[in-house]
């Protein structure tokens, strides 16, 4: 595992495909393993050879890491600091042949900025070289043909040069090939072979980004032993997942394919209260609201959307593999547990916290605590409980009362003054996934205690994390 700690420095990510091909002369297990190891060794030599090339994405920069970090364009030398590469990268797709006129920094993210590189092979060499030979081997045997998805991450310090970066990158690539060899051999059964796939995980400070090679196609449920070892190795608590595939780190420059916004609350400035602290949802959730997925639930679907946000949290933290349920699936679940009549499915009937709890239990196998306040005014006194919830569980909270349902993503609470603010994600929004609008207009925003109907009663559903890895 390559460990990268995440002070604000440049992260280099190199991705590329390497062809793994070999002929297996026999089916004898040891000979097969030897042949596979030999082929991995050939790939490692290739990565360490002069024909290995790293091309910086969205830029004209090309580096030969094993030729003393020779690079083109010629302004880049082995002693150029890594950070300078940012100047050569253009955000848009166009090919560029020169530096940008202004030093525009790429979008700021919570982690360090990422430079992407492509692993390439140079097939030309100074001649003259020997003409080709065609070798024909006739033997009833097996042929292995795999494309290995190399994906390495390396952190460079502010004083690191291109040459330093190259050494680290080549070492990371070689190391990953060793890991892939291990995983491949571990998971070989007779004449079947699973493709090793690297996955990156962001661990709590100071451990940072870590890369694990998993065998493709093996579900998380069969990789418990590996995860246990990893938790031990990195000294992580054994009651919450860090290494499930869904926990994979999402790099800032990669868009989400499903189109939902993730963690819009990160764009907000949090309130400062006297002696107050901010307690927020942990991890990643998607913002679900009215009118999405071409479902017109304006006026009745707010609790359903809040429930969807909660489900998205459990899916993205790796607790469940089930995708976020639709309105109909939610309604069907309630019919299945006997809470509603069959006619409920397809209707526009509201649901409340109790129903949310029932669906979370029935569809996702989760337990939730219900918190009841007889008057909205009492919510102001629930600061400690909510703070504790976000500290220990860190899951989004669904609150229903009066005629409305909302999602609480956090509280700002002062133990001494009792001041409280609530971070609200409002499912009543009917517009497009525009972060600017959503934060400017308060669809995701901090609200005071007067946000609640002071006389209505409220139920809160606090989902609990399962204690698993």
């Amino acid at each position: 595992m390559v460990v990268v700690d995440s002070e604000s420095a440049t992260i280099l990510r190199v991705k590329g495909l390497l062809e793994f091909r070999c002929q297996l002369d026999s089916t004898d297990e040891q000979l097969v393993r030897n042949a596979i190891s030999r082929t991995f060794e050939t790939l490692r030599s290739q990565v360490k050879s002069e024909s290995c090339v790293l091309a910086v994405s969205d830029s004209p920069v090309i580096i030969w890491p094993n030729k003393d970090a020779y690079a083109t364009p010629e302004e880049i030398t082995p002693s150029t600091p890594c950070e300078d590469m940012h100047q050569w990268i253009q955000a848009d797709e166009q090919e560029t042949s020169g530096k940008k006129s202004s030093k525009k920094k790429s979008k700021k993210s919570s982690l360090a900025s990422v430079i992407n590189l492509r692993l390439m092979t140079e097939v030309t060499k100074p001649g003259p070289l020997s003409a080709p030979i065609l070798t024909k081997t006739v033997l009833k045997s097996h042929f292995v043909s795999v494309t290995l998805p190399l994906d390495c991450v390396v952190r460079t310090g502010s004083s690191d040069t291109i040459k330093d970066a190259c050494e680290q990158l080549i070492e990371a690539l070689t190391h990953q090939l060793c890991e892939m060899e291990k995983v491949t051999l571990q998971n070989m059964k007779g004449m079947t072979l699973l493709v090793p796939e690297p996955v990156h995980f962001l661990l709590p400070e100071p451990k940072g980004l870590v890369t694990v090679v998993y065998p493709a196609g093996v579900p998380d449920s069969q990789l418990v032993t590996q995860r246990k070892e990893l938790h031990q190795q990195f000294d992580l608590p054994d009651d919450r997942p860090y290494f499930r595939r869904a926990n994979a780190y999402h790099f800032p420059n990669e868009p989400y394919k499903d189109g939902y916004l993730r963690n819009p609350h990160l764009a907000l400035t949090h309130p400062t209260l006297d002696n107050g602290k901010v307690y927020l949802v942990q991890g990643i959730y998607s913002y679900h609201h009215y009118m999405q997925n071409r479902v017109d639930d304006n006026g009745w679907g707010c609790a359903y959307r809040s429930l969807q946000t909660i489900c998205s949290w459990f899916q993205q933290q790796g607790y469940v593999e089930r995708p976020v349920p639709t309105h109909k699936e939610i309604q069907q679940a309630l019919v299945d547990v006997g809470d509603k009549q069959a006619s409920f499915v397809g209707s526009r009937q509201w649901i409340g916290s109790i129903e949310v709890q029932a669906v979370l239990s029935h569809l996702l196998g989760l337990t939730s605590k219900i918190l009841f306040v007889s008057q909205g005014a009492e919510l102001a006194s629930k600061g400690r409980e909510l703070a504790n919830h976000f500290l220990t569980e860190g899951t989004p909270v669904m609150i229903g009362g009066g005629v409305l349902a909302h999602t609480i993503l956090g509280v700002a609470w002062s133990e001494t003054t009792g001041q409280i603010r609530y971070l609200i994600l409002d499912p009543h929004y009917t517009g497009a996934e525009d972060l600017q609008v959503i934060t400017d207009k308060g669809w995701c925003g901090w609200k005071g205690p007067d946000f609640w109907d002071q006389t209505a009663y409220y139920n809160l559903c606090l989902p609990q994390r399962p204690k698993v890895i």
Partner: protein, 433 residues
């Protein structure tokens, strides 16, 4: 407005001499380079005589023969040079001659492009030229056809001679490693099966080359820039290219499959492309060089397969369990400069068991050029020394049994080529235009 062909003035003399021959008709090929801006013809090559043809047959045009000659010639042209048209010297009726030329042109161009392992590009010129010369009056009629359009009609074109045309062309070249490993299907592995595998493997590899990143003299140039941007004082205009490739993720087959063996092609080739010096564009240099890379490898593999088929080599079915390994040296590339001053060369391929003296003979027969052994450039590729394995397709006794093999290259090549391309060839003539 028609196209305008600028022709090396030596060609005029060559065609003149052909006019003085008794034979009628005389057909041949026109070699040059067509781009969106200009069209150049650097060479004319008469169709070689068919040895066994009867006297009567000599007076008519043998389409198959002309087409096969064109295919062979096409293999001997480095990147940037290609068969851009056909000519005929005859005093027959102009309209008949044009019809014949049209048929020849389409047959020739279709056959040559059917062997290409690359997709046509948007900026490819699809117009080709036909030239008709009356041997008595020396009147020339020049027309072009769009070979992409089977219903294309003749368009008039200019034909202008110019001296010193070949003197300032740019040369882009590289030496490139090939490393392919392909499975053979799990049944009786005849040469035919190996051909299928190699064709598929070559196509996939050709695609990798086509998508590869090209650096010229160590720089990555924007596509529309001109080559001369790099070297302002390079009078000889030679550029070295580098190619960087990546693998594409294709999960087409199972990770482990049963096979009947494997075939690999490993080694290096020298590739070269010429561009006319009138503001050559980087994009065109890259395109022509990549095409030469692909075709030189494909040509050699094809030649090796033709050799194996000609010597009728089949793997012995009874020894399938024991591992049979055979090594074949693919022919290596030799360049021969054209007599006109300038960098232009043609090329030929020499098998390791052939004597160098055979190359000038082939050059004379195929390209009608006079070259001496000393003129040949054999330094671009090295031959491999293999000991203890089969270097040639067959042991020496085979050579004695087939003396024709050396003398009438086009005849033997054609027989085997037609056998291999049986379907393709018959399709071409069924659709006689």
């Amino acid at each position: 407005m028609g196209r305008g062909y600028i022709v090396q003035d030596d060609v005029e003399g060559y065609l003149s001499k052909l006019c003085e021959q008794k034979a009628d008709p005389v057909t041949g090929l026109l070699i040059g380079q067509s781009s969106t801006q200009r069209d150049f013809v650097v060479m004319a090559i008469r169709t070689p005589q068919k040895e066994e043809s009867a006297a009567a047959a000599r007076n008519s045009v043998d389409k198959e023969w002309v087409t096969e000659h064109a295919r062979q010639v096409s293999r001997m042209l480095p990147g940037g040079l290609s068969v851009v048209g056909v000519f005929i010297i005859t005093d027959a009726d102009a309209k008949d001659a044009l019809t014949t030329l049209r048929q020849l042109l389409f047959a020739v161009e279709n056959l040559i492009s059917s062997e290409h392992l690359w997709d046509p590009a948007d900026d490819d010129v699809t117009d080709c030229v036909t030239l008709q010369i009356n041997p008595k009056t020396r009147k020339t009629v020049c027309r072009t056809f769009d070979i992409k359009d089977p219903k294309s009609v003749a368009k008039p074109a200019d034909w202008k001679y110019q001296s010193g045309l070949c003197s300032s062309w740019a040369t882009v070249s590289c030496s490139l490693n090939v490393d392919m490993l392909l499975p053979l299907p799990n049944n009786r592995t005849s040469t035919g099966n190996m051909e299928e595998c190699l064709k598929e493997g070559l196509k996939a590899w050709a695609h990798q080359i086509e998508c590869g990143l090209c650096l010229i003299d160590g720089k990555r140039l924007p596509e529309d820039s001109e080559l001369t941007v790099i070297q302002r004082r390079n009078l000889r205009q030679t550029y070295t290219a580098q190619l960087l490739i990546t693998t594409e993720n294709k999960r087409l087959t199972d990770v482990i499959q049963q096979c009947g063996g494997s075939v690999s092609v490993t080694g290096a080739i020298h590739s070269r492309a010429y561009l006319h010096s009138n503001k050559p564009k980087a994009r065109q240099a890259e395109k022509l060089l990549k095409r030469d890379v692909v075709s030189t490898v494909a040509t050699r593999v094809q030649m090796m397969l033709e050799e194996l088929l000609a010597s009728d080599q089949e793997s012995k079915g009874s020894c399938r369990d024991k591992q049979q390994k055979e090594l074949f040296c693919l022919p290596h590339r030799i360049f021969c400069p054209l007599k006109v001053s300038g960098p232009l060369c043609v090329c030929d391929y020499q098998f390791s068991d052939e004597d160098l003296s055979e190359v000038p003979e082939r050059l004379k027969e195929m390209l009608d050029i006079d070259a001496a052994e000393e003129d040949l450039d054999t330094r671009q590729e090295m031959t491999v020394e293999i000991t203890g394995c089969d270097v040639t397709p067959e042991p020496t006794q085979e050579k004695v049994e087939a003396p024709d093999h050396k003398k009438n290259y086009i005849g033997v090549a054609m027989a085997t080529a037609v056998a291999l391309l049986a379907t393709a060839a018959s399709m071409l003539y069924l659709n006689d235009i």
